[in-house]
Symmetry: C2
Subunit: 106 residues, 2 copies
DNA sequence: CTTATTAATCGTAAAACTACGATTAATATA
DNA sequence: TATATTAATCGTAGTTTTACGATTAATAAG
């Protein structure tokens, strides 16, 4: 390198990791994974954060592609976006399953 | 919730994700995974960043526990910390393998 | 139609992250 | 011993993240 770029795996993986890099966002995903019905404003009640802050975290997860939302009357229903979710899973699984070699030092 | 905390899985997972949340740090890990000999100052040459910035990223990875360094004369040799690496792998694998349910909306 | 509820967005402050050059400490070499 | 090399740390900008309350837009209920 010393050229100004990173490989696409590194970029994509870092972007997914960034989406997971806050306990609130991980908690939101845990909720969506657990509940059989997609929760909505209930997410706010389940987190120790204000409505506007939760909304921001939801936006980040949405922009990362990991969740999607659907308007249902006055409320909004969020779900895991399975397609992107599986892409992220595969990418991370591939990364972590790289055989760590027996190295000379450490 | 609405009490001031997150579950420990969310906290731990977010911390690992944060360590992976920058392409430079992912690139460093890719290098350490690929090379059979632990690279050292070579990491700096492989990244489009200054020595001090790379050092900072190495520090973050070290603090997350994902890598460890060993002084070898005038240079330092970095490796994946396999124990913590495997913990992170297991945590992420468990998280992503949570069965995504057939949900009502979205 | 008016009022209430829900959730996104705006504005903003504080904290954290990212990057760099300069400096420092340690070891190696001449 | 003097000089070079390596890598951590310091100081410091600029940017991004995180959080909140206030406001807004949309729908539902009275």
């Amino acid at each position: 390198m010393k050229s100004p770029e990173y490989n696409s795996t590194a970029i994509t993986l870092a972007a997914f990791a960034k989406a997971l890099a806050h306990p609130a966002r991980v908690s939101i995903l845990q909720l969506l994974l657990k509940k059989k019905s997609c929760i909505c404003g209930n997410i706010v009640d389940e987190l120790p954060l204000s409505q506007s802050t939760v909304s921001q975290h939801l936006k980040e997860l949405k922009e990362a592609g990991l969740i999607k939302g659907e308007i249902d009357g006055v409320s909004v229903c969020y779900c895991i976006n399975e397609k992107v979710w599986n892409q992220a899973a595969a990418l991370l699984q591939g990364f972590f399953s790289t055989s760590t070699q027996q190295n000379s030092c450490c």
